[in-house]
C-alpha cells in the first residue's frame, strides 16, 4: 500500500549516470521500471530497449520520482445492467486462503466482483467461522501493486507462449533423460491437486527429484514428534477436553496456522461455566507470549533449560528414568503448582511442548503425558498429506554442489531469502543451468532465477488445500486475475505437457476421482460449503519412545531463539501494509522487528528499548534494535524472522533485520550466541509507549467467590436528562478473560472500515489510525510480570464528552445509543478527541488515502466512507452492518434478532471475547453478560456511561507472584 507521508524515494534518485546502458543493466533499476511503467512490460525485448532510451531523458529529469500508472481505473456504472448483477449487493463465496500451506477457510465478500472482506467460514470444521490476522489481511495482498504481473526471463518480460515453448524444450530433454537433473523445490503445500500433479510428474520423469523448503512450517514442525514417538505426527491438542494445560514454551495461542483452532478450543474450555474459570494454564517459557499472558502461573525459563523443567515435570509425575534435575527456586515453585494441578485433574491434564523446542523436551513431555493418561488428549494424527519423500533444502544444495541438478524449478517458495545463510543457496542457484521461479511476487528468489512465472493470488485461483485439521478445502476464485498470471496448477499442467490448461480443470480432475458418482452435485455442494466432507483416518496408535534424549552439553553464551513474526510470519506477508502496521502483541511494535531481551540482560548490558546491538552466532552476525520484554528469561535473546527483505516490494523492503542470516541449519530454532551493544539507537514505531498499569484498575480481576454478589447497578449522577432510546440500544461486552491479544479484531476492523495505513513515520509520532487498539499492560515485578490485554474500541458513552465538545454537531448520539461520527460535517477541531477520556478517536492529520489510481481502492468496503484529510474518525460499531440488519428486518417486518448484527471485530475474534447486541432486550447475550458478576465499566467514575463494557479476568488462585 502506498503511504503518502513516507513514500519511499527510489534510493538511486539523485545519482547521476554516465550512460543509460549502464543504468538499464542494473537489476534494481529494472525492477523499478517494471513497477513504475507496467506498459513497458508488454513490449518485446527490442521495443523495450527503445522505450528505455526514449524514456531516459525524462527519467533523468524526473530524478526517477515520477508518477506511476495503474491498471485500475475508476469503476463505471453499467449502461445496461446485466441480468443477475445487483450493484451494491454483496456476493459471498466460500473459499480459502493459505498460511504455511494450510487452508484458512473463509467466506469472501465481493462487491461488483471485487473481494473486499474475508471472514472465517462458519461451516468449516477447523475454524468454525473464526479468523486470525493473516486471514483478515489476505485480501489486501490481492490488490498489491508490487505483484508480479507477467512472466519474465532474466528481467525481460516474456509471454506465456515463450514460457510454453521453453517448457516444451525442457520436456524434450527430460523425456530423454527420464528427468535426470530436474529438481523441483516446493514451499510447504497441502494441496491435493498439487500433490497429484507432482506425483504425475514424478511418474513421467522418474529421476526427477522433489525437495521441500518451508521457512517455518511444513515438515520441520514434525521433527520433535519423530524423536518423541518414533514417527512424524501432527498433534492437535484437544484443549476443549482439558482442565489443566501445562505448556513448556508452547505458544499454542500465538500466531500460526494452529491459532484459530487452538484459541477456539481453549476459550471453550476456559469458559465452560460462567461462574468460575475453566481450564487452568501453566506456562514455562523463555520469551513472553500471548499464551503466557493468559496463564494462571507463568515462569520464565531460559530456552536451554526448558528440557530440564520437562524432566522435572516427568520426575514429579513418576516417569521412569526421569532424574530430578537441578531447578531454581522459582522454577521449582512453579513446577510444584503445575504438578499439583495435574494430579488433581488426572485424565484431563495435558502437557504440551513447542514445535520449535528441542527433542529432549518433546521426549519428556510425551512420556509425562503417558504417565498422566493424557495421550488421548494430544489429538495425534498422521501428518496432513504432503508431497511424499520430499528431500530438504540442504539436500538440494549438496545435490547442486555435486552437479546433479541442471534444471531447478522453485514453486511458491522464497529460499533465496528464507534459507539459512550458511547454506549459501544463492551461490548454489548460480551453478544451475536453468532455473525457474513460480511465485506471486518476483521476490529475492524470482530475481535470482532465470525465469519468473507469476502466480495468481489465492482469491483469483482454482485450487485446494487442507486445513490444519486435515479437512480438504476447495479454493475457488472470487475474481478474474488482474494480471497475466496463472495458477500453480496451470503451471504444473504446463510442465506435464498440457497446452493452455484451464484453471479449474486440474482441481476438478483431482476431486472427480475422489468424490465418485454424481460428481457435479457433490462438487457444487463442496464449493458452496467450502470444504469436502471426507472420512477421517483412525488416529494412529502412539507410544512415547522409551529412550530419553539427552541434549548435547550447551555451549557458552546466550540462548538465541528464532520465532516467526506474529504479523509478517516468515516474511511472506512483508508487503502487506495492514500486517506491517498491525501492532505485534506484547510489544505493540509496527513496521519492523526487534531483538527482544529480558530486563536482567538489559540491566547487565545497559540497554534500553531501541538501542542497537549486534547478535553473533558462530561466524555470522546481524544487528538490530533491542526491546526489553518484561518477563523474558535472563539469558535468552529472541529474534523474529520475516524482516530485512530486499525484494518484497515497496512496503516490505528495507525494514528490520534479517534473522535468517544467523539461523543455523542444524539448530534452526534455538542456538547459542552473543550480544554486543553498538552505541547507536533508533526510535521504534510502537503504538503504545507505556505498558505498566501504574496501579490503576483498567483491567480488573475477580475471584470466583466475589462474583456471587448481585451486580449493583451503579450509574454516576448526571446533570443531563436521560436520552430516550429507540427500539434497539446497542452495546458491546468484551471478555478480558478470553482476549488473547491476537489482533484479529484490529485487522478485521481495518479491512471492514477502510482504515488507512499511515506508515512507520506517522506511527512513530503517534498517528496510527486503527479504530480499535489492544491495550497491553503488565503489573508486578518486571522479571515476573502478569500481562493483560484489553481491546479498546469507542466506548459509545451515553454521556459522551466528545459530543458536548464539537462546535458543529459532527459527532452526535443516535437514538440507538451509538456515538456517531459525521465525517462530512467534521471541520477538524479535534475537541472531541481532546475531551475523550479513552482516546479512541483517530484523526486524518494528512490525506492518508491511497493515490487515486492505486489498486488498493478496489479493496475498500463500498458501504463505508473513505475519509479525507482533516477529519476525525472512530469506531462506529460497524454502523453499516447495523443498518443492513435493519433493512433485512424491516423487509420481513420483524425486530432485529439477537446475534443478527455482528461487528467485524466480533466476527473475527477466535475466542468469542467480543459480544455485541441490544441491551434493551433482556434476553440478549449482551444483556446477560452485562449482568454477569465479572462485568465492569472502564473509568466508571467519569460518569460517561459507556455502552462498551468489560468482563473482568479471573484472578488466579493465591500463590501467584
Amino acid at each position: 500500500m502506498r503511504r503518502p507521508a513516507t513514500k519511499p524515494d527510489h534510493p538511486r534518485g539523485p545519482v547521476l549516470w554516465s550512460s543509460l546502458e549502464e543504468l538499464s543493466g542494473d537489476p534494481a533499476f529494472e525492477a523499478w521500471v517494471d513497477a513504475e511503467y507496467p506498459v513497458a512490460a508488454t513490449f518485446g525485448p527490442t521495443a523495450r530497449r527503445t522505450f528505455l532510451k526514449l524514456m531516459g531523458a525524462s527519467f533523468a529529469l524526473a530524478g526517477l520520482a515520477g508518477c506511476e500508472k495503474s491498471p485500475f481505473v475508476a469503476a463505471l456504472p453499467y449502461v445496461e445492467q446485466p441480468q443477475g448483477t445487483d450493484v451494491g449487493i454483496p456476493k459471498y463465496y466460500a473459499t480459502a486462503v493459505t498460511l504455511d500451506g494450510y487452508a484458512q477457510p473463509v467466506i469472501a465478500t465481493t462487491y461488483s466482483g471485487r473481494p473486499t472482506k474475508l471472514d472465517g467460514n462458519p461451516d468449516h470444521p477447523a475454524t468454525q467461522g473464526r479468523s486470525d490476522v493473516f486471514m483478515q489481511a489476505a485480501v489486501l495482498e490481492l490488490y498489491d501493486p508490487d505483484r508480479a504481473q507477467a512472466p519474465n526471463r532474466r528481467g525481460e518480460p516474456v509471454t506465456w507462449s515463450d514460457v510454453q515453448h521453453h517448457i516444451g524444450l525442457l520436456r524434450q530433454q527430460w523425456t530423454q533423460s527420464q528427468g535426470e537433473g530436474v529438481a523441483l523445490l516446493l514451499g510447504h503445500s497441502t494441496s491435493p491437486t498439487l500433490i497429484r500433479q507432482i506425483e504425475a510428474l514424478v511418474r513421467e520423469f522418474p529421476k526427477a527429484q522433489i525437495y521441500e523448503h518451508a521457512a517455518v512450517g511444513g515438515g520441520r514442525g514434525l521433527d520433535s514428534t519423530r524423536a518423541a514417538y518414533g514417527q512424524p505426527l501432527q498433534l492437535r491438542p484437544q484443549f476443549e477436553n482439558c482442565d489443566v494445560v501445562v505448556s513448556l514454551d508452547d505458544d499454542f495461542l500465538g500466531a500460526g496456522p494452529h491459532q484459530v483452532a487452538n484459541a477456539r478450543a481453549w476459550s471453550a474450555a476456559r469458559h465452560r461455566t460462567a461462574d468460575q474459570p475453566g481450564l487452568a494454564l501453566y506456562m514455562a517459557e523463555a520469551v513472553p507470549s500471548t499464551t503466557g499472558a493468559m496463564a494462571e502461573a507463568r515462569v520464565a525459563v531460559d530456552a536451554s533449560r526448558t528440557w530440564l523443567v520437562a524432566q522435572g515435570l516427568a520426575n514429579s509425575c513418576d516417569v521412569a528414568g526421569a532424574a530430578k534435575p537441578d531447578l531454581s527456586a522459582k522454577e521449582q515453585r512453579w513446577l510444584d503448582r503445575a504438578v499439583h494441578a495435574c494430579r488433581s485433574a488426572r485424565g484431563r491434564a495435558l502437557v504440551t511442548c513447542s514445535r520449535f523446542g528441542d527433542d529432549a523436551t518433546a521426549s519428556w513431555v510425551a512420556r509425562t503425558n503417558e504417565a498422566l493418561g493424557a495421550t488421548a488428549l494430544l489429538g495425534a494424527a498422521a501428518p496432513v498429506p504432503n508431497v511424499a519423500n520430499a528431500k530438504r533444502l540442504s539436500d538440494l544444495v549438496s545435490d547442486i554442489g555435486r552437479g546433479a541438478v541442471q534444471t531447478l524449478i522453485i514453486i511458491d517458495a522464497n529460499p533465496a531469502y528464507t534459507a539459512p545463510a550458511w547454506l549459501a543457496f544463492r551461490d548454489a542457484v548460480a551453478k544451475v543451468r536453468s532455473s525457474v521461479h513460480v511465485g506471486i511476487h518476483r521476490d529475492e528468489t524470482g530475481a535470482l532465477c532465470e525465469w519468473h512465472l507469476p502466480l495468481t493470488h489465492t482469491l483469483e485461483s482454482w485450487s485446494d488445500a487442507r486445513s490444519i485439521d486435515g479437512t480438504a478445502t476447495i479454493i475457488q476464485p472470487t475474481i478474474a486475475p488482474f494480471y497475466d498470471v496463472r495458477t500453480v496448477h496451470q503451471v504444473m499442467a504446463l510442465l506435464l505437457g498440457q497446452l493452455d490448461p484451464l484453471p479449474a480443470a486440474p482441481v476438478r480432475d483431482t476431486w472427480r476421482a475422489a468424490l465418485g458418482n454424481d460428481f457435479e452435485t457433490k462438487w457444487t455442494r463442496c464449493l458452496h460449503d467450502g470444504y469436502v466432507p471426507e472420512q477421517r483416518a483412525a488416529p494412529p496408535n502412539i507410544h512415547a519412545a522409551a529412550t530419553a534424549v539427552v541434549p548435547p552439553p550447551p555451549d557458552d553464551g546466550l540462548d538465541i531463539v528464532f520465532r516467526p513474526d506474529p504479523t509478517i510470519w516468515d516474511g511472506s506477508f512483508a508487503n502487506n501494509a495492514w500486517l506491517q502496521e498491525l501492532p505485534k502483541p506484547l510489544t505493540t511494535l509496527t513496521w519492523g522487528n526487534v531483538i527482544s531481551i529480558g530486563p536482567a540482560l538489559a540491566m547487565r548490558k545497559d540497554l534500553t528499548n531501541g538501542d542497537h546491538v549486534r547478535i553473533r552466532v558462530r561466524d555470522r552476525s546481524i544487528s538490530g534494535p533491542v526491546w526489553v520484554l518484561p518477563g523474558q528469561a535472563p539469558n535468552t535473546v529472541a529474534l523474529t524472522l520475516g524482516y530485512g527483505r530486499s525484494k518484497a516490494g515497496r512496503v516490505g523492503d528495507g525494514l528490520g533485520y534479517n534473522a535468517y542470516h544467523v539461523q543455523p541449519i542444524d539448530q534452526p530454532w534455538q542456538t547459542k550466541g552473543s550480544l554486543h551493544k553498538l552505541g547507536t539507537r533508533e526510535t521504534l514505531a510502537v503504538t503504545q509507549l507505556h505498558h505498566r498499569m501504574e496501579g490503576f484498575d483498567f483491567v480488573r480481576e475477580v475471584n470466583a467467590a466475589d462474583t456471587d454478589h448481585p451486580k449493583h447497578e451503579t450509574t454516576q449522577p448526571s446533570l443531563y436528562p436521560p436520552k430516550p432510546s429507540a427500539q434497539n440500544a446497542w452495546g458491546m461486552v468484551i471478555d478480558l478473560d478470553a482476549c488473547i491479544g491476537c489482533n484479529a479484531c484490529v485487522a478485521a476492523c481495518t479491512a471492514e472500515n477502510n482504515v488507512p495505513v499511515v506508515g512507520s513515520e506517522q506511527v512513530k509520532v503517534g498517528r496510527e489510525m486503527q479504530w480499535l487498539r489492544i491495550a497491553r499492560y503488565y503489573t508486578g515485578d518486571v522479571e515476573e510480570p502478569r500481562s493483560f490485554f484489553q481491546p479498546v474500541p469507542c466506548m459509545h458513552c451515553e454521556q459522551a464528552p466528545c459530543e458536548m465538545g464539537c462546535p458543529v454537531h459532527a459527532t452526535t448520539h443516535s437514538p440507538e445509543g451509538v456515538n456517531q461520527m459525521v465525517y462530512n460535517r467534521c471541520i477538524g477541531t479535534r475537541t472531541c478527541s481532546s475531551y475523550c477520556p479513552y482516546k479512541v478517536r483517530r484523526f486524518n492529520f494528512f490525506d492518508y488515502r491511497p493515490a487515486s489510481d492505486a489498486p488498493e481502492h478496489a479493496a475498500h468496503n463500498p458501504d463505508v466512507t473513505v475519509r479525507s484529510r482533516g477529519v476525525m474518525e472512530k469506531c462506529t460499531y460497524c454502523t453499516q452492518r447495523i443498518e443492513a440488519a435493519h433493512v433485512a428486518a424491516d423487509k420481513e417486518n420483524r425486530p432485529i434478532r439477537d446475534g443478527e448484527v455482528v461487528t467485524a471485530c466480533q466476527s473475527a475474534c477466535p475466542t468469542k471475547a467480543i459480544v455485541f447486541g441490544d441491551i434493551r432486550n433482556p434476553d440478549s447475550e449482551v444483556s446477560r453478560l452485562r449482568g454477569d458478576g465479572r462485568h465492569y465499566v472502564l473509568l466508571e467514575e467519569q460518569g460517561t456511561r459507556p455502552r462498551t463494557t468489560y468482563l473482568a479476568r479471573w484472578k488466579p488462585p493465591e500463590g501467584q507472584g
Binding site: F696, V808, H809, T831, R869, G870, L939
Partner: protein, 451 residues
C-alpha cells in the same frame, strides 16, 4: 492605586509642545532607520507565517507535531498566550478609565493597539488549527440549506463569539479613543495626503463641547462594555479546557486563573512596549519613571495572584484525591515535560520578586527584563497546561508524547511578525500616546495648585 494628589507628569511642559511632540511622530518620523530595520525583521517573520500557512493549508495539520493524544498543542497554546497578552490593553484603558486612574493616559493608546493586534494573532490560530479550515463558516449560525446549526453546548462555539465580540469592542474602544487625536493630527498636517487620511479618520471632529460630551458618553459606555468582556473572554477560553474531563483541565479554578494569568502576561508586554517606545522616541517626559513604577506594582500584583492560582491547582489535585489528578500533578512536577512547569515557575515568579524594590520598578531595563521573563514564563505555562494534561490522560495505553516540529515554531514566530508589522505601522502613522488625554491630565496637574 496611585496617590491622586501626586503628579505623574512633569509640569514644566506646555500643552502645545506635547501636541507637537506626539503628532510629530507620525508626521515627521524621527527614527526612520531603526524603524526600517524593525520593519524588515517583522516582515520577514510575517513572510514566514505566510509560508507556514501555505504549507499548512496545502498539506494539512499533520505538518505540526500534534498526534493522538496530544491533538492540541502549539495552535491552541499560542492562541491562549496571544489572547492573554491582548488583555492588558483593554484592562488598562477601560478599567482604569472607569476608575479614574489617570496614570493610564500615557499608556492606554499603544496598550489598546497591542490588544487589537494580539487578538488578531490569537484569532487566526483557531482557523489554522482546523483540519478543514475552509469549512470555518460552519461555526456560524447562518441559514444553511440543511437546517443545521452550530452546537451551542461546545466551548469552541462560545469561543468564536467571545473572541469576535472582544475584538469588535476592542476595535470600537480603540477607535473612539483615537478620534480627537486624529483631529489634532489633521490640524497639524501639512501634506495633502496626510490631511485627507486624518480628515477621514477623525470623522469630522471639531472639538465642540457637544462633541466632547457625546464622545465622553460613548467612550465610557464602550469602556463599560469592554471590562466585563476582558473577564468573560478569558474565562471562556479556560472553559475550552475545563469543560473537558481531562485531569489537569477539569477544575473550577480555571476561569479566574486564566484571567489573572492573561492580565499578568498582558501587563508584562505593555511594560515591554512602554519601555521600548519611551527610549525609541525619547518620550521620557510622558512615559515617566512613575509610570514604570505603577506598571511594576500592577505586574507584581497580577503575578502574585497567578501564583495563587498555581498553588490552588496543586491543592485541588491533592484535595480531590483522584488518582488521575494526582498522576497528572506528578507528571507535571516530575514527568517528561517538567521543564515547562518549573520553567513557568522560574520565569514567572523568580525575577518578579525584584519588583518589591522601588529602584527595580523604576529602572527601565530591569523592568524590561522581568517583563520579558514573564512573557516567556506565561508561554511556558500555557504549554504546560496543554501538553502535560493531554500527553498522559486516563488510560495508560493511550499515553503519548509531543515534540514540536519546524512548522510549529515557524507558525509561532510568524505570528510575532503578524503582531509587529501592523504595530510598527501604527507607530508610524498613528499618535501612539493619547494626545488629548495626556494634555487633559497635564492641564489638570498644572491647574491643581491654583485651585
Amino acid at each position: 492605586m496611585t496617590d491622586r494628589t501626586a503628579d505623574i507628569l512633569p509640569q514644566d511642559q506646555s500643552l502645545g509642545r506635547v501636541s507637537d511632540q506626539l503628532t510629530g511622530i507620525p508626521l515627521h518620523f524621527p527614527t526612520r532607520r531603526r524603524w526600517w530595520i524593525a520593519m524588515i525583521i517583522a516582515s520577514a517573520l510575517l513572510l514566514l507565517l505566510v509560508i507556514s500557512t501555505t504549507a499548512l493549508f496545502t498539506r494539512g495539520v499533520g505538518i505540526w507535531g500534534i498526534n493522538i493524544p496530544v491533538n492540541w498543542a502549539f495552535a491552541i497554546h499560542n492562541y491562549v498566550w496571544w489572547l492573554g497578552i491582548g488583555h492588558a490593553g483593554t484592562l488598562i484603558s477601560a478599567l482604569l478609565l472607569l476608575t479614574g486612574s489617570e496614570w493610564r493616559n500615557s499608556l492606554n493608546r499603544f496598550a489598546e493597539t497591542m490588544t487589537l493586534f494580539a487578538v488578531i494573532c490569537a484569532g487566526i490560530y483557531p482557523v489554522l488549527h482546523l483540519g478543514r479550515p475552509w469549512y470555518l463558516y460552519w461555526m456560524f449560525p447562518y441559514p444553511a440549506t440543511m437546517g443545521i446549526w452550530p452546537q451551542f453546548r461546545s466551548p469552541l462555539e462560545w469561543d468564536i463569539w467571545a473572541v469576535l465580540t472582544y475584538l469588535t469592542v476592542s476595535l470600537a474602544f480603540w477607535y473612539t479613543g483615537l478620534i480627537p487625536d486624529f483631529a489634532a493630527a489633521r490640524d497639524r498636517s501639512r501634506k495633502r495626503g496626510w490631511q485627507i487620511f486624518f480628515g477621514i479618520t477623525s470623522l469630522g471632529w471639531r472639538g465642540s463641547a457637544a462633541h466632547w460630551q457625546r464622545w465622553q458618553q460613548a467612550y465610557r459606555v464602550t469602556a463599560g462594555l469592554a471590562v466585563p468582556l476582558v473577564v468573560s473572554v478569558h474565562s471562556e477560553v479556560s472553559l475550552l479546557f475545563a469543560a473537558g474531563q481531562i485531569p489537569g483541565w477539569h477544575s473550577t479554578i480555571f476561569p479566574p486563573y486564566f484571567v489573572l494569568g492573561a492580565a499578568f502576561s498582558g501587563f508584562a508586554v505593555v511594560a515591554i512596549i512602554a519601555i521600548a517606545l519611551r527610549s525609541l522616541f525619547a518620550l521620557g517626559n510622558l512615559v515617566t519613571d512613575d509610570h514604570l513604577d505603577v506598571l511594576g506594582k500592577v505586574l507584581l500584583a497580577c503575578g502574585l495572584m497567578t501564583g495563587y492560582g498555581y498553588l490552588f491547582e496543586v491543592f485541588d489535585a491533592l484535595y480531590s484525591g483522584g488518582a488521575h489528578e494526582m498522576r497528572t500533578l506528578s507528571d507535571r512536577l516530575t514527568g517528561a515535560y517538567a521543564w515547562t512547569y518549573w520553567g513557568a515557575i522560574a520565569f514567572n515568579f523568580v525575577p518578579l520578586q525584584g519588583l518589591w524594590w522601588r529602584s527595580v520598578r523604576r529602572s527601565g531595563w530591569m523592568l524590561l527584563s522581568i517583563s520579558i521573563s514573564v512573557a516567556i514564563g506565561m508561554w511556558l505555562e500555557r504549554y504546560m497546561i496543554l501538553v502535560t494534561s493531554l500527553y498522559r490522560d486516563f488510560l495508560v495505553s493511550s499515553w503519548g508524547a509531543f515534540t514540536p516540529t519546524f512548522w510549529d515554531w515557524s507558525t509561532y514566530l510568524g505570528t510575532i511578525g503578524l503582531f509587529l508589522v501592523p504595530f510598527l505601522l501604527a507607530i508610524r502613522f498613528i499618535p501612539m500616546i493619547s494626545i488629548f488625554e495626556t494634555e487633559e491630565l497635564l492641564h489638570k496637574e498644572q491647574e491643581r495648585p491654583h485651585g
